[in-house]
């Protein structure tokens, strides 16, 4: 049983959830990144404890180096799942960067309470963006 990885996953989930509940926009962003990484490590645990097994790479060099019995490797399928999840997660984080940037620029603040109540003191850039977008989309 991989106790150390279990503690790591718990720690990552804890910190991720804590950050997602924070007021600062960037804290939420980092919390999302940590949460997706926590899920990826959880998937890694599902491939079983390493216990001396090789990594799932097939190559002639490795076969020549240790011919019999050493072809046994860890289960490669969860690692394929993790790769897919990392790629999808990076796409989501790219979108998150732009969303966070737009929210910060439009309201001129990174305080989520102020953003949700729409009570932020607007920066010049924020109010310019706001009035510009209102002109091009009349109600």
């Amino acid at each position: 049983m991989q106790v150390d990885l279990a503690f790591l996953i718990g720690f990552l989930f804890t910190v991720g959830v804590f950050l997602v509940l924070e007021k600062h926009l960037l804290s939420v962003f980092f919390g999302l990144a940590l949460l997706s990484n926590a899920a990826n490590v959880f998937l890694l645990v599902m491939s079983g404890p390493p216990n001396g097994l090789r990594s799932p790479i097939v190559s002639k060099l490795l076969e020549d180096a240790a011919p019999e019995g050493a072809l046994r490797s860890v289960d490669p399928l969860p690692q394929a799942l993790i790769l897919t999840a990392i790629v999808i997660g990076s796409g989501i984080l790219m979108y998150a960067v732009f969303l966070v940037y737009r929210l910060a620029m439009e309201s001129g603040t990174t305080d989520l309470d102020a953003i949700h109540d729409n009570t932020a003191q607007s920066s010049a850039l924020g109010s310019a963006l706001r009035s510009g977008s209102e002109k091009s989309h009349p109600p």
Partner: protein, 500 residues
Amino acid sequence: MNTVVLPVLVPLLAGLVCAIVPTRTPKRALAVIACVLQMVIAAGLLAATADGTRLGLLLGGWKAPLGIVLVVDLLAAIMLGLSALMLFVATLYGFGEKGNHSEHPLRLALLQFLCVGVNLSFLTGDLFNLFVAFEVMLLSSYALLTLEAKGTDARFGFDYFIMNVVGSTLFLCLAGLAYGLWGTLNFADLSVKMAAETVRSRVVVFSVLSVLVFGMKAGVFPLYYWLPRSYPTLPPPVAAFFAGMLTKVGIYVLLRLFCTVFPPGLQEATSLVGWLSVGTMIFGVLGALSRNTIRGVLSYHVISQVGYMTLCVGILSPAAVTACIVYIAHHIIVKASLFLIGGVAARIQGTDELTLMGGVARSHPLLAGLFLLQAFSLAGLPPLSGFWGKYLILVEALQQERPWFVAAALVAGILTLMSMLKIWLATFWGAPRTPSTSHLSTPSKARAVFVGTLSAAVLTAVSLFVGFGFPVVYAFAETASQVALDASGYASFVAGLQSK
């Protein structure tokens, strides 16, 4: 080429081409051609599976359970047909607009990509492929939410975004759990392994986690708050597609898991779903009564109607699954048409706020008539489609001796009628409340109103058919529920699929 993959391939290619083509008219023409093509494909799949046969495809030729398999049975074919219809109407709605009011250049392409994710969720027979399909759908929905958000409305999309990323993380953990516990991600193989599982708590924990993940996606109490915050900011056709299809993907996955994958007799999970549905129905309709914009009321309605559908999943008898399928078909069409009608009314009056509107029935009686029909259908007046859905659910709940579920459903039905009356009295009835120049009709506005009314009329006609031609719909739904509940048939079908 195998027709099973076409519902995913056609919108993918259409979306790519629509994104590249620069000018508006060829973009719109291509989108309409793609939508019509998808409707034809969906009709073909419906005809092929109508007698209960399943169609399948091994992606890449790899055999299940390691390979990814796409399976179409009648339930999936019904959902594919509905999504094709929704895509067509949502694309068509914006065609009357030009210039400042016309859709964002990327909207049509993003709608097609959204359809890729939705269709793949209906087709797939593999849990991780479902995750990928959900992510394609969610990323397109994030983009659509914030693309045309006016002013500071993007902040509402933020709630939707965070909630769904957390949900996706939990979904990933769900897939990992399935692999760690049973060594497979394929639905058919999972159903076999779960039925043979001796440690019952593993199955229960897995099913409850899946209720959390997909219930959150469907908008089940108490994790529904993201829906009424974000849907009112969407332009009407996009809101119609979201309200019609995106929550139904969550309900479809719940149906598929509970009927075909999980072993029967999971009382913990089904009673949890049942009681959560009661909360969903009541709180959804109470929220609808409290809103002051058309889209706000309708968004909360989506939640309360989702409660009816998850109630069927909570009861999980063959008749309840039939009722759920009928209700899904009814609700997708009626809810989308209500959003479109609300959008046209807002375009006529220049505002969405109920306190500022009024008197649309005098200037546009056809639109008011459509709204009345669909509002009565939502509230459950016979012989419109909503009556049949609600009747089937209530009868089955009484037969299974769940009186509290019946009571909650009836209370929610009455309050639904009240909230629909609120919109009717504020928007359509009486005299215009604020005399303003936005009531005057210009040629461009008249054309936009005409196209919008036309798309709403198409949907109303389909929903009238569902209501008046109900025996046909019921036969389809009954066959679909039989096929969906036949877990061993599904497993042997997937095991017997040959790669071509």
